[in-house]
Symmetry: C2
Subunit: 163 residues, 2 copies
């Protein structure tokens, strides 16, 4: 199905929610607001935190907040936080040394990487801001490459306030 797992879906919903409502929020609140079961939401948020998409504050009055501004977080980051690196096939997964033993005759390896790259770029060109505030920069973010878009948008307050 080439479908993204439910967990990843949750991750996008949660991250989008955080993008729309800035500041820190407890996992429990986020779970209630998004109607995602609380333990599951918590699990997802942990992964997002470990991947650096969100930052966490432990203890009382703690919670989660986006690690960067929504415009600076690509949807690919959210997806990769849950699913691991976007490696379309084992043989195109650089991290593992699982070697396609018939690489010589399949000759497809390099092409898979190209497919992989195409998908990766398509995903990275959609930011959390696009998700949270659709319509504002819809066409722009598609037309621009990630870097250009970033430069264009870079004019605001750099850090977020996690009180």
């Amino acid at each position: 199905m080439l479908r993204i797992s439910k967990m990843t879906d949750y991750a996008v919903v949660l991250a989008t929610h955080l993008a729309a409502a800035d500041g820190a929020h407890a996992a429990r609140d986020l779970a209630l607001q998004t109607q995602i079961p609380e333990p599951t939401a918590s699990k997802v948020l942990k992964k997002l935190a470990r991947a650096g998409v969100v930052i966490s504050q432990r203890g009382a009055k703690g919670g989660y907040a986006l690690a960067r501004r929504p415009e600076q977080i690509g949807i690919n980051e959210v997806i990769e936080a849950i699913e691991g690196p976007i490696a379309v096939t084992e043989c195109s997964d650089e991290s593992t040394d699982s070697f396609c033993e018939y690489e010589t005759n399949c000759g497809v390896r390099a092409n898979w990487q190209r497919i992989n790259l195409a998908v990766h770029r398509a995903l990275s060109e959609i930011s959390l801001a696009d998700m949270a505030f659709p319509g504002t920069s819809e066409l722009v973010s598609i037309a621009l490459s990630g870097k250009d878009a970033e430069r264009l948008r870079d004019a605001g307050t750099p850090s977020n306030d996690v009180h």
Copy 2:
């Protein structure tokens, strides 16, 4: 992992192989040449046939051949033949009426479809010809190791020596 299943990998290998060697080939031969286990290759080819990516000829001297010219077959067709429609999440899957019951507050549905579209387009822009004869397209040189491409390109009769 957002990884495409092994079956789909096989499908691309087989389709690419057919693209490089035109004419009809028995499933058994294709399996041998690509070193994919025969029953599995057969299963994949059946799906490709049903999806209209390849055409099949039954009976003695039968086999499989591409349904169209390699340039006219997008890699997305091959993937969809195996994995079904590229629907990133259930809630963005139009075919099922599985309704995101908190659509009102998640508000992400339309965005998922946009992501979906981006991926779909990225995949459809790569044809089987690009896979079978890399180098004819300019983008390939980035990701290409070169060695395999040369071998593939120079293989005049691709069905024999590929072992």
